[in-house]
């Protein structure tokens, strides 16, 4: 197969370059043959994923890439330790895409690179494991689905909690009707973030390709103290970056409910007034007909704790009222606490009596197993790109409601646009910086 090479890409937009590619049938590695993977983005999550995949006997990490070469050593070290083979270190991820021996790309970049990185990988014939939130905006998510389907690629989104067996049991319990009819699901994601303290702009340090790092986003003056998570240009926001797991679990538990009819957001930058753009307080209500999904999230609640490490993989439950990553399912005949990170779930009857408890375990490995299995079998993965899109959509909808003044917005699932606010539709798609443009026709 001929993959998109760098020269071709630089001639024009992604779309122009993609039109030059000649597609092959999706490759499926034979059993016993290692799946060859390259990693794009060597921050904490990318390094973690590189290590975990490198530890698998059925995978070889052939490439590690990051625009910032200062990040190379930490990632290379863990991969070498895990697989006893040195990966190639590259600043530009397109070198991974150029290599026909590579089967898949792990995309663990900031949000602004998720969509284009995944689409370019599909065009180059690579399967993709992309971190969440899957896309920077609604339109981009739809394009990712189109690319995956057009090029017959597997895209697994890093929403691993839905792969956990205890989550499946919770879904079965809810769907069995033992809790009656479910009319309300409350999703929590309370965190504690520090204020950012912006310092003056600085020259781009040696060894850092800042232009590549910015990619499709505007190239703001280099300022390392400005957190990308807090800027719309690069991020969906720190709350969506985490609550997306909770929203995905809520959707999964409710049998993957597709699209809400409306959204209304409350909140803003209330506590961490440090020049950030993205809110520190986000409460959103999504109406799915008779079912209401509520999201409560904030960045200033130190007493709310994520699941402690000693509970994550044990036969213990968290202290639910102070569990920052819980989901509450409210039915006409019962109530359920569900906790992420292997915290398990507990169900109560109409009298408030505990009637069912299920301990949990985290499922990172199972999610990775599923990705590798799908690369071989060409099945759709557990967190397929369409699922990822419909979950990320909730984050985008809440953000857009906030950005238009916390207005209640009505959503048309056919066009994936808002029907009662033109201004809201301006946020459906971002401005892409040449040449890093996601084309209409992927």
């Amino acid at each position: 197969m001929k993959s998109l090479n760098r020269r071709e890409f630089m001639k024009g937009t992604v779309g122009a370059a993609a039109s030059l590619t000649v597609l092959s049938q999706p490759r499926a590695r034979a059993a016993g043959e290692k799946v060859i993977i390259g990693v794009m983005g060597l921050g904490g999550r990318g390094t973690y994923l590189a290590e975990k995949f490198a530890q698998r006997p059925d995978v070889e990490i052939a490439y590690l890439s990051d625009p910032n070469t200062r990040r190379f050593a930490r990632a290379r070290e863990v991969v070498e330790e895990a697989q006893d083979k040195r990966p190639k270190m590259v600043q530009d991820f397109r070198k991974i895409l150029d290599d026909p021996s590579v089967d898949a790309l792990i995309n663990a970049t900031p949000d602004h690179w998720h969509g284009l990185g995944a689409i370019m990988a599909c065009q180059a014939g690579k399967d993709v494991y992309v971190e969440k939130p899957m896309a920077h905006n609604i339109w981009e998510g739809r394009k990712m689905i189109e690319a995956a389907r057009k090029y017959k690629r597997v895209i697994q989104v890093g929403m691993q909690s839905r792969t956990a067996p205890y989550t499946g049991k919770a879904k079965e319990y809810i769907q069995s009707g033992k809790m009656g009819d479910i009319y309300l699901v409350r999703v929590f994601n309370m965190m504690q973030h520090p204020k950012q303290k912006e310092t003056p702009n600085q020259p781009v340090p040696e060894g850092f390709d800042y232009d590549l790092w910015c990619g499709p986003a505007p190239k703001l003056p280099y300022n390392p103290s400005r957190r990308w998570l807090n800027q719309w240009e690069y991020s969906c926001g720190p709350i969506p970056g985490d609550v997306v797991h909770q929203l995905d679990l809520a959707r999964y538990l409710m049998d993957d409910i597709p699209y809400p009819k409306t959204v209304v957001h409350t909140g803003g930058v209330n506590a961490l007034t440090d020049g950030r753009q993205t809110p520190d307080t986000q409460l959103a209500t999504f109406e799915y007909g008779s079912l209401t999904l509520m999201m409560e999230a904030a960045l200033w609640t130190p007493y709310m704790k994520k699941i402690p490490a000693d509970i994550r993989d044990s036969d213990r439950f968290p202290n639910w009222p102070f569990c920052s990553t819980r989901i509450e399912i409210l039915g006409t005949e019962g109530f359920m606490y569900y906790g992420r990170h292997g915290a398990g779930w507990q169900a109560y009857d109409a009298n408030g009596e505990l009637v069912r408890s299920e301990y949990g375990r985290q499922a990172d490995k199972e999610h990775q197993d599923n990705f590798i299995d799908c690369i071989r079998t060409r099945k759709k993965p557990n967190a397929d790109v369409e699922i990822g899109h419909k979950t990320a959509l909730l984050c985008h909808m809440a953000n857009i409601s906030y950005r238009v003044g916390n207005l209640k917005l009505e959503f048309d699932p056919q066009t994936e646009t808002f029907t009662n606010c033109d201004k809201a539709n301006q946020y459906i798609k971002r401005e892409y910086r040449e040449p890093w443009v996601v084309p209409d026709n992927v």
């Binding site: 904490g44 910032n68 070469t69 200062r70 990040r71 190379f72 050593a73 930490r74 290379r76 070290e77 863990v78 330790e81 965190m191 504690q192 973030h193 520090p194 204020k195 950012q196 303290k197 310092t199 600085q202 340090p205 040696e206 060894g207 300022n223 390392p224 103290s225 957190r227 998570l229 807090n230 720190p238 970056g241 985490d242 960045l299 130190p302 704790k305 994520k306």
Partner: protein, 378 residues
């Protein structure tokens, strides 16, 4: 280990120890005797020789003493505030030393025959109090929650001239005993560390690896070793000042030796580590002579303005400082690592680059060194 047992007989001086572990300073003729006093209970006199022409006020030794009262089964650190004399803590002159060990609860031994002491010394550099230039890259991993002074200043402190070596760490493990935490299987790696656990529960250094920096140590391992010595990890600010030097190399009190390059990028200046075919530290280059880490001090010629070696490259070094990224805050507690490593690109070996690591991480590219100074020195 050649620090020989010191038998204590009441009122009788007994013997000596000589250290041949790489990077402990050589200490010989250790003598120990217990003397009674009229009113203050017994005291212990410890004498030893430390003969090293390199010892000076700028490059002193840090000397600490550990003792056992059960024939070497367990050991304790003798607190500095129970010692008097000229041979403990910061020792800035070579020669014969005398320490008086006071403290009735510690020194009232009922069976003096079971008492042993071990005296160890580490080569240090003196970093005088004063202002310096701090310009860490926040995006490269600085704890943004810290208040960064625009005019940073640090009190006097001392930093080990070299990274903690494999043999020093093995000595520590052997003193802790076979059940001690602090060793992991990866430390047996021939090229990347070299500490083997023997069947009898003791630890050995693979021949030839004595003088290499210890690796695969977690932040906790490093901290425990330094507590054992009476030292601590450096802060990021201390690392940065030590790399560049203060505005005055003799400190703000003297101000006689202005630093010609207070904003230098690397300990030796601004030249890239491999500029002009001269290799100034051990980084990710096939031409610097080392495929993995190098023996400590291999690039001594390119040390910091205070004569401290391998601050750039070789192994990255744990620091005291937390990293509180917004994303992970409250959950994990990353610590900062400084100085680049044998696996890092040249630019990552500079004075400003830090990396984040979980404190439990045991890595072949990370080690540590000790600091003696005020507890909250930032």
């Amino acid at each position: 280990m050649t620090l020989r047992k010191l038998l204590l007989s009441f009122g009788i001086a007994v013997l000596c120890s000589r250290c041949c572990y790489s990077q402990w300073l050589e200490i010989s003729n250790v003598k120990l005797r217990q003397e009674s006093t009229e009113l203050a209970g017994p005291k212990i006199m410890i004498e030893y020789d430390i003969i090293d022409p390199g010892i000076s006020p700028e490059s002193p030794a840090y000397v600490f003493v550990r003792y056992s009262r059960d024939s070497g089964k367990s050991w304790q650190f003798i607190p500095m505030d129970s010692l008097r004399g000229n041979g403990f803590d910061i020792v800035d002159k070579s020669g014969h030393k005398q320490i008086i060990w006071w403290g009735t609860s510690q020194t009232s031994f009922t069976d003096g025959n079971q008492v042993e002491v071990r005296v160890r010394g580490i080569a240090m550099a003196r970093i005088p109090a004063g202002k310096f230039v701090m310009k860490s890259l926040p995006g490269a991993g600085r704890d943004e929650s810290k208040e960064i002074s625009p005019d940073p200043d640090l009190p006097l402190f001392y930093m080990a001239k070299n990274e903690t070596t494999i043999s020093m760490y093995t000595d520590y493990l052997n003193e802790l005993g076979s059940e001690a935490a602090g060793w992991n299987q990866r430390m047996a790696s021939e090229n990347r560390c070299g500490i083997v656990r023997n069947d009898d529960g003791t630890y050995s250094v693979k021949p030839g690896r004595e003088n290499y920096p210890v690796t695969y140590v977690s932040w906790y391992d490093a901290t425990n070793f330094l507590l054992w010595c009476g030292l601590r990890l450096p802060s990021e600010a201390e690392c940065e000042k030590t790399m560049r030097g203060g505005l005055y190399l003799d400190g703000d009190a003297a101000k006689k030796k202005p630093n010609p390059m207070p904003e230098r990028r690397y300990p030796w200046g601004d030249e890239s580590p491999g500029a002009d075919g001269v290799f100034r530290c051990n980084y990710d280059s096939e031409d610097d002579g080392f495929a993995y880490s190098s023996p400590v001090g291999s690039f001594a010629k390119f040390g910091s303005p205070y004569g401290i070696c391998d601050l750039a490259g070789n192994v990255a070094e744990w620091t005291l400082d937390w990293y509180s990224t917004s994303y992970h805050a409250g959950l994990d507690g990353f610590r900062m690592v400084r100085g680049g490593s044998w696996m890092a690109v040249a630019a990552a070996c500079d004075a400003i680059t830090g990396a984040t690591q979980l404190p439990l991480k045991e890595s072949s590219i990370m080690g540590f060194r000790g600091v003696k100074g005020p507890a909250n020195s930032r």
